[in-house]
Symmetry: C2
Subunit: 435 residues, 2 copies
């Protein structure tokens, strides 16, 4: 594969007609559907062979990928992309090695497809159970980070699905270079190269068509900002696994162990500020507020975290700014924390129900009954006891890489890994049984 082999997409696609883009997407869809039938039947060994091959090819073709990435970086700087976006876009030897390692990790996960569970004998004599099967064709819509191309391809392949990947236009050269590696790995393992298709037209209209073809696409996962996710969901005719806000809470109960509460409240906020599982609001039970808040206030200010508190908080931490109603609803993704003193676990649960985003919430307590109550009554995709919200993550949960995080309740909640890309069919075993 030489750099010349990389198909360079048209710089501007705005002149392509809607009909041409629809035809392009439908062609991709048809090919994906055909490939999906094939890959659904592929055995674990064949899928793993393709993944190990992909890891090798990514490393072997690192220079080619970096050359393509340099084109994207050049264009990105010319287009004055901001520093954070350029950082996400940038590849280097280490990042390519990490990408290859991620693929190997996915190869090493157990294959969910074909797993049979719950086989029970019924009074009629039939045996009824479930078998795990791929969803079919998965569409992924993402931005900037080229490593998503390899990650998403590997997760879809391992779970027996075909994938249509639509990356950001700023990363198109990098994505297509990685796509060529994926195609080669598939062909080398005698799997259809159309199992993973990376769109070389990144026109925004491709998104609209992708979510409008339920005949070819079984689920779409938008990985990007809230506006992208909202736009995709609004018009979708196919199921969408979507991730909206992460307004996560830690509640320090009156029976919290101080030695656990302080590290958890610090870690949940300060370990990383820009992630969706970062705590945005700290809730403190009134009887322990003056025992934990002064020390927490000190540590947060050492970390440069701006505090916004309710009235009772500000009586203990007078330097905190007054929190407004808006603060309780805000995902800061920044070194800012809102703090509220509440009256017991019910008050904390009510606050979370009113202002939370059903993402991740944690209680710190030694009281078993209140821990159980919090676990049961907080309606979030991850509910924790005595642990930092930062653990809400596919790797930490043992899923391997995530394909996304769901803030919905339907089909999948929280981190979505291989299992979230599958479904279960019913299996009935009889011996000539009739009704």
């Amino acid at each position: 594969m030489s750099p010349a082999a990389i198909k360079v997409p048209p710089k501007s696609t705005s002149k392509i007609s809607d009909a041409a883009i629809l035809a392009y997407m439908r062609q991709k869809g048809e090919k994906a559907r055909a490939a999906a039938r094939h890959v659904a039947r592929a055995d674990t060994g064949q899928k793993n062979a393709a993944l190990f091959a992909l890891a090798d090819i990514l490393k072997a073709e690192a220079r080619t990928i970096l050359q393509a990435n340099a084109q994207d970086m050049l264009a990105g700087r010319a287009a004055k992309l901001d520093a954070a976006m350029l950082d996400r876009l940038q590849l280097n030897e280490d990042r390519i090695a990490a990408m290859a390692d991620g693929v190997i990790q996915i190869a090493n996960l157990s294959d969910p497809v074909g797993e049979m569970t719950d086989l029970k004998l019924r009074p009629s004599g039939i045996q009824v159970g479930k078998m795990r099967v791929p969803l079919g064709v998965v569409g992924i819509i993402y931005e900037s980070r080229p490593n998503v191309t390899a990650d998403a391809a590997a997760l879809c392949l391992k779970s027996g699905n075909a994938a249509i990947l639509r990356g950001g236009s700023e990363a198109v050269h990098s994505n297509l270079a990685i796509a060529r590696c994926i195609e080669r790995a598939l062909s080398d393992s005698r799997l259809p190269p159309e199992t993973v298709q990376v769109l070389d037209i990144t026109d925004r209209r491709t998104v609209g068509f992708m979510v409008g073809m339920p005949e070819f696409v079984d689920v779409v996962i938008p990985r990007g900002g809230k506006s992208l996710v909202a736009a995709v969901s609004e018009s979708a005719k196919v199921p969408v696994i979507k991730h909206l806000d992460g307004i996560c809470h830690v509640f320090i109960d009156r029976d919290a162990d101080r030695e656990k509460a302080i590290p958890i409240a610090v870690n949940a906020k300060t370990q990383r500020y820009g992630t969706c599982n970062t705590m945005e609001t700290l809730l403190v039970d009134q009887p322990v507020a003056d025992k934990v808040l002064p020390e927490l206030g000190r540590i947060y200010s050492e970390h440069g975290v701006e505090l916004r508190g309710c009235e009772r908080t500000r009586r203990i931490l007078p330097d905190a700014r007054p929190a407004t109603e808006d603060d309780w609803r805000t995902e800061y993704l920044a070194p800012i924390l809102s703090i509220r003193v509440v009256d017991g676990v019910d008050d904390a649960i009510a606050h979370i129900a009113k202002y939370g985003s059903k993402h991740t919430d944690s209680i710190v307590t030694e009281n078993l009954s209140r821990a159980r109550k919090f676990l049961r009554e907080v309606d979030s995709s991850s509910v924790m006891v005595n642990a930092s919200t930062r653990f809400a993550d596919g790797y930490e949960y043992g899923l391997g890489a995530e394909i996304g995080i769901s803030t919905d309740k339907f089909h999948a909640r929280g981190p979505v890994g291989l299992e979230g890309l599958t479904s279960q069919k019913w299996v009935v075993l009889g011996d000539g049984h009739v009704r």
Copy 2:
């Protein structure tokens, strides 16, 4: 509860403005959302108490319900509804007793809510598992049969969900009489009466608004003809559990046991003609076609089943009409059967992939490898070995009553019972763990 207490809906709602119907639906939605939070926390004993109370009240109020039903029957005859529809609409003492029994059966099912599974220790020291939780608010759209009102209410309540039930206008008096029983059972058990709301306005526009309020409704289940299901899915902004065609196949493999093949092929077609799990196409492996088709032809003709066959079938059964391409795609729901002779299991699987509706398909064979191949490769919600397709049913699978059957892959496939009305959240147990 006297008959006078039954709120009689306006005969015509066509003069109600869109805005008024939207306001009505939003009010129902808000109440359902509030009730859902309450019922999600109700313990099993409280939910079962409401269900046992409902069974008692239904039986005690049988006369009131029958009076309301008589109004519907009168209006139905005046509107010249067909005999099948009038039969579905009609209630009598036995049907009310069956309705109450159904509610008791649901009370006796184990409560899925709160079930914790797969708690595993991770290398970080946290323990990660899943807890089963209600979906929230379930909307059901159905026609004619008033027993669905009691069934759906009981299933939603047992699974900790609130429900908004929109029955057919032809059954509105019966449905509202049953609704009053449900409300009383809920109140008697100190659960919010808004846990189950039956719409007293059955204007078609209620459907459009119901599927357009994701803020109040978490899933909609249309139970009715294909046109209703298609219309609901087309405009839905909330997830829909939908049931489309049931084009079910039985494949008699070359290694089938004749003593099993004949009864299965007869039962799958003739036990009931109008159900979605009835076989519509029989596939017979070429080497055994002349061993099984003559006897099957005789039995089918005794049952008055019209046969439509491929060329090879008609060489053995010359009385069969020639099957057209359309026949392979048709859900007859009638005493008609299409028969095709195929060349082995791969040919059978290919036929099912091309013409089937991913509902229920069965292989009859003694060959283990081909049985496993069929189970794995046929992409239908129920796949069977040596059993009649008629077993594809919530009761037969041990789910208790069904809330519906899904021909989708997302979230739930096949018969949907209590579990299909729930989701799983992640639970993390730590001991002060931070990242």
